[in-house]
């Protein structure tokens, strides 16, 4: 039993942090908030070179063959930097989705392209009703000739406007199925949904009898449920890692500020009202760290409690990050509420991920089912 990072994992974290400190400072995040596409090709290419884009894929598909602990380490750092770009959408939603459910040919087509930085991907897991349960999918897939025609509306699809392929669940006559959709294809329209976190992008994806070929089907028709559930768990833990990173940054900024800001002739960090709040923030960050890396390990190792650990992780970290990032604004006072000061970049990153891939309430219900069997 060893709940600590290996030397390689520490090296990975340090190199990701160094690269993002260099290439993804707050000024870069702000520039991308104004950018039409919202991310930098140069940094994307750099990430491909550093091996981040293929990190969890098998070596034969151009990946590094690493696990979710390493992926969480990268996302933890990306949250800390409020990285603007389709990394999560591409590597976690698209890449892991294909890894879990794709055929050999589909993996061969997409994973090396993702790893080398040539392709971007996403998954459309949410519809109008915001129900995360895959069985709630209402979009339809009707057989047409050799292929299918898809209809339905997907919401909050991350980075669909720059994706080359989107995983789309839809209900076929055989049951819940999963398809690869070209977001620039016929019958598909992509409309921006602009949220408070301008450094991450969402779209509405509308499918109006959109034709897809036979080989766009991922896994057997009617058999997408388990793949989607497995993907949702990984996305929940990966999003938690990113929220954790954002919370770490908010804590670091608050502590640094409390050491220099004076009021009533004293450093505000000497007041218990501030110091105790910072101590509570650290407690939440440490507990979130435990929850994220335990779940990442459990999913990678196929531990008995992996599904529970994923739900525990997302429900815990969603609330912890909300508290830590919110408290950070409070510790800063007025300056924390200004656009110029960078704190809101991290606050908004955590907030934008809080309701995604199952909010705390969704995962708590799964936890109770798991622990009570009822």
């Amino acid at each position: 039993m060893n709940f600590s990072f290996s030397e390689d994992q520490v090296l990975l974290r340090n190199s990701v942090r160094a690269a993002l400190d260099q290439e993804c400072a707050a000024a870069h995040v702000r520039a991308m908030m104004e950018d039409e596409r919202g991310y930098s090709d140069a940094l994307w290419g750099e990430m491909a070179k550093l091996g981040w884009l293929g990190l969890p894929f098998p070596e034969e598909q151009g990946g590094a063959g690493l696990g979710l602990v390493e992926l969480a380490l990268v996302l933890d750092e990306m949250g800390r930097a409020a990285y603007p770009g389709p990394y999560f959408a591409t590597v976690v939603l698209g890449g892991l989705g294909l890894s879990l459910g794709g055929s050999a040919a589909q993996k061969e087509r997409w994973l090396p392209a993702i790893a080398s930085g040539q392709a971007r991907a996403s998954a459309a897991l949410l519809e109008d009703g915001l129900d995360w349960s895959p069985s709630a999918t209402a979009a339809t897939a009707t057989p047409a000739g050799d292929g299918w025609r898809l209809s339905g509306v997907k919401r909050f699809v991350p980075w669909a406007h720059v994706a080359d392929v989107v995983l789309v669940p839809a209900r076929a006559p055989e049951g819940l199925s999963l398809f690869l959709v070209d977001p620039r294809g016929a019958g598909v329209s992509v409309t921006p949904m602009v949220g408070i976190d301008l450094a991450s992008r969402w779209s509405e994806l509308r499918l109006a009898d959109a034709p897809v070929p036979a080989d766009a089907l991922v896994g057997p028709a009617g058999g997408a449920g388990p793949v989607l559930e497995a993907l949702l768990r990984r996305a929940a833990v990966a999003a938690s890692a990113e929220m954790l990173g954002a919370a770490r940054r908010c804590l670091d900024m608050s502590v640094a500020y409390a050491k220099v800001r004076e009021q009533f002739g004293q450093l505000i960090g000497s007041f218990q009202a501030i110091r105790h709040r910072c101590a509570e923030m650290l407690l939440e960050v440490e507990n979130s760290h435990s929850a994220v890396y335990y779940a990442a390990w459990a999913l990678t190792a196929g531990a008995e409690d992996a599904a529970m650990a994923a739900s525990i992780c997302k429900s815990y970290v969603s609330e912890a990050a909300r508290k830590v990032c919110g408290d950070a604004i409070q510790v800063h006072g007025g300056i924390g509420f200004t656009w110029e000061y960078d704190l809101h970049l991290y606050f908004k990153r955590a907030k934008s991920l809080e309701p995604l891939y199952g909010d705390a309430a969704y995962h708590r219900e799964l936890i109770v089912r798991g622990v009570t069997g009822a």
């Binding site: 507990n287 815990y316 705390a360 936890i367």
Partner: protein, 404 residues
């Protein structure tokens, strides 16, 4: 990172489990029976496991200690007696005691031949422990002790006490304190039970009037008592963490069973979506405590001491326990307040140290103690803020100069 237990640890766990199945007493009715159980645990090698072999310990790894504690919690085994001897006094003597003190005291702690208590807090020195006033006056070959202690756990049965007393009132308050081992069975020591909000008396008040402490029973050097106390407060925390969570989990499952029976609008409370949300949250919090315990255990196994990090652990679990017990009370309603006449299905099956059936009422009230004893939550937050986050210390009157 590999959270699987090694084959060796799995085998050891199985061995402990089997031993408990064959040796665990069903009920313990009095102190003598508890001492007998304590001795059985000791003879099996399950007490003082981390202590050096030459003084009766096993020289075992932290993981082995954690496994024994965890298996005992899992089986609902009665606790050994002499908790303050095993948890505080013994480890203090192991680290800071003289060779003669180690030979004189350690083995008798392990066999429970001599029971121990801890004499730290005073009526006017709680969170501000260093303000303690009990005085120890040097009389050549011995010290004479005068003063009052409070919140002395295990005081009623104690033969010996681990004492903090002021030996020099002229220096700044943290520097004038010395640590002693005091014989509780002497005329100058008067022990009175302190009745708590639970109605029971796990704690005592101790009055010392011209009590005698031999010079050879001073621990560490003169004036070193404060730093010794700082290290001993952390001893018990790491190894017990896993077992504590296992006990919570056992209580949680009993709460779920109650929620299946109790009804609201003709349906089990367990079907109520609001209750389910609260139960889901508490289970998540409980598991996060378990993950944290594994992190602490990893550090201990590598020979690292959690240090001020122990304050995060203590703050986290003690505050969690209060939230957990508040939820239990919500679900159980008035059943959760019963101390007598508790229907069998709403009892809490735990070891209560006094040998009675456990009650949720007792567990609920007891949860209020955790955020006060061994450094209140407020003190833990100060420690975290100052020693981990490096935030500035507050301006405090007692940091200006020597005590009056």
């Amino acid at each position: 990172m590999d959270l699987n237990y090694t084959a060796e640890d799995v085998a050891f766990r199985k061995q402990v489990r089997t031993w408990l199945e064959h040796n665990m007493p069903r009920h313990i009715r009095n102190l003598e029976e508890r001492r007998a159980w304590h001795r059985r645990l000791y003879e099996a090698g399950y007490l003082g496991m981390g202590w050096p072999r030459e003084y009766g310990g096993q020289g075992a790894r932290p993981m082995e200690q954690a496994i024994v504690a965890d298996e005992m919690a899992r089986a609902g085994a009665p606790a050994p007696t002499n908790g303050l001897g095993l948890g505080i006094a013994g480890p203090t003597i192991v680290v800071h005691g003289t060779e003669a003190q180690k030979r004189r005291f350690l083995r008798k702690i392990l066999t429970a031949e001599e029971m121990w208590c801890q004499l730290y807090s005073e009526p006017n020195a709680g969170s501000d422990l260093a303000a303690l006033r009990t005085a120890a006056e040097d009389r050549g070959d011995h010290f004479v002790v005068n003063g009052q202690k409070i919140w002395t756990s295990g005081g009623a049965n104690a033969d010996w006490g681990l004492l903090l007393a002021r030996t020099d009132p002229t220096v700044p308050k943290h520097k004038g304190i010395t640590c002693f081992l005091i014989n509780m069975r002497q005329p100058g020591v008067d022990v009175r039970p302190l009745k708590q909000i639970t109605g029971s008396s796990e704690f005592c008040e101790v009055f010392m009037t011209n009590a005698r402490v031999e010079k050879e029973h001073m621990v560490g050097r003169l004036g070193e008592g404060w730093s010794i106390a700082q290290t001993t407060l952390g001893y018990e925390r790491g190894g017990r963490a896993l077992a504590r969570v296992t006990s919570y989990a056992s209580q949680y499952r009993q709460l779920v069973e109650a929620a299946r029976r109790l009804k609201r609008d003709g349906r089990p409370i367990l079907d109520d979506p609001i209750t389910r949300q609260k139960l889901g949250r508490v289970w998540a919090d409980l598991e996060v405590e378990r993950y944290g315990a594994l992190r602490t255990l990893t550090m201990l196994e590598r020979g690292e001491h959690p240090g001020a990090g122990g304050s995060i652990t203590k703050l986290s679990y003690s505050e969690f326990e209060k939230r957990f017990m508040e939820l239990a009370e919500e679900i159980l309603g008035p059943y959760g307040q019963l101390t007598e006449g508790v229907p069998t299905e709403y009892r809490l099956e735990v070891d209560t140290a006094v040998g009675d059936h456990g009650t949720w009422a007792y567990a609920f009230l007891w949860s209020r103690a955790g955020t006060i004893y061994a450094g209140s939550s407020e003190i833990q937050k100060n420690v975290i803020g100052e020693r981990i986050l490096g935030l500035p210390k507050e301006a405090r009157a007692d940091r200006v100069g020597a005590r009056r």
